[in-house]
């Protein structure tokens, strides 16, 4: 447990002191969302109609953007091998890393999304659902991303490879996340989509650490 907390603390400190991580991801999110009104035009109805999908798709890309550094630094300087030989289970190591990644990127994305929703004329009653769906969905992105990042360690063109691997797996998150916001926007119940999203999150929590740990062991072999 102490090792778990130490890894979590170390990764969070690195993300905070480096600063680039969180702010680059947020910057990308804001700019990428702002591109849509420029391309599509300023009509409020059109923007409100596409807002759930645009916000969710851009949050997905923003989270993906920060994944290649998840294990890369530790892999390069050899500390990954030391971490894997520590008394901490590799699965828990992955969990600590993914949690730190989520706190540094997923949570800020969820906090920033309602603000960008205002930009896109998303009605006020859909805002809590947007926040809730991102709060449930972004941990899945961090967990799936951990699998992808661990698999791509030492690969050629790792960043593109990561996107090709993780995007298809992340499709359900996008579908039900954006679906929940759209339901809330059109006055339908958002709970079914949110519940499925929660189920997906629990599945990812069970499967992803095991797969990522297997990939990490292969990488340092």
């Amino acid at each position: 447990m102490t090792v778990f907390l130490a890894v979590l603390r170390r990764d969070l400190l690195l993300a905070l002191r480096d600063g680039a991580g969180t702010w680059t991801v947020l910057g990308f999110f804001v700019i990428a969302v702002a591109v849509f009104p420029l391309g599509i035009g300023p009509e409020p109805q059109v923007l409100a109609r596409i807002a759930p999908g645009v916000l969710w798709a851009m949050a997905l890309l923003a989270a993906l953007l920060s994944l290649d550094t998840l294990f890369e630094g530790d892999y390069r300087d050899g500390s990954l091998e030391i971490l894997l030989s520590a008394e901490l289970l590799p699965e828990l190591l992955v969990l600590a890393k993914a949690l730190a990644h989520w706190l540094a990127t997923g949570l800020p994305l969820a906090l920033a999304a309602p603000l960008l929703g205002v930009f896109l004329h998303l009605p006020g009653e859909a805002m809590p659902v947007l926040f809730a769906s991102l709060l449930l969905g972004t941990p899945v992105l961090s967990l799936l991303g951990a699998v992808g990042a661990a698999l791509a360690l030492g690969a050629r063109r790792a960043t593109v490879l990561l996107a090709v691997m993780v995007l298809p797996l992340a499709a359900p998150v996008l579908i039900f996340g954006a679906g929940a916001v759209e339901s809330a926007q059109t006055g339908l119940a958002a709970a079914p989509s949110l519940l499925i999203l929660g189920g997906v999150a629990l599945c990812a929590l069970a499967v992803c650490p095991v797969a990522a740990a297997a990939a990490l062991r292969q990488a340092v072999e």
């Binding site: 690969a155 490879l161 090709v164 691997m165 298809p168 797996l169 499709a171 297997a214 292969q218 990488a219």
Partner: protein
Amino acid sequence: MVAQALKAMHDTVLRVAQPARFVALAGAWIPWVSVAALVFLAAGLVEGLALSPPDYQQGETVRIMYVHVPAAWMGLFVYALVAGLGGVGLVGGHPLAFHAARAAAPLGAAFTAVCLVTGALWGKPMWGAWWVWDARLTSMLLLLFLYFGHIALSRAFDETRRGDKAAAVLGLVGCVNLPVVKFSVDWWNTLHQPASVMKLGGPSVDPAMLWPLLLMAGAFKLGFFALWLARTRTEVVEARLRAAAGRLRAEGGAR
């Protein structure tokens, strides 16, 4: 008794799975399997294109189904096979499983692509659109993307074994999509029609159309098997050549 039978099966598989033995066996099998595939293909094409009746609603376009449905089945089957081989390779560490998975993945991707393209060709006259974003089509497209990820990952490392192992993990994780593809037409109210062959209570397809479909399915499976054997054999030979080249280089350096 069962344990003995399992042991015998295990021993047989291990004996066949020795790379040298596999190369010889594959060489003996490929011609026969290829001929069988061609016979099934000829029979299926004659049945499907000439002898079977046009559909009372779809007219002649129903014949697209004789390619589309077997391709879809193969797309799913080969993914499960690739994932299973990857799992066997990870647990048992047997190189032939990795060679076979590496050889099968592009074939599966090709079947999935054929399924999507023939589906589009059928969709345009029948639905009035090349593509709709319903659950069946979307999940099949995701299957194609999963194949792309698997193929890209398995070839992304200088050390082929690392690529094989990484792709095996990805293949197992991607298995979650298989039931989604299969049951998408039951879970959601899709434009794509529900299952009519593999379902409870037997097929609801008329025998005149079921026969050509099954013949084509046999042709696809046998054709896949022939190509898969040939590609796996190539992978095995290539790995041995690479190992021999490495040894030669090492000896040259020592001298």
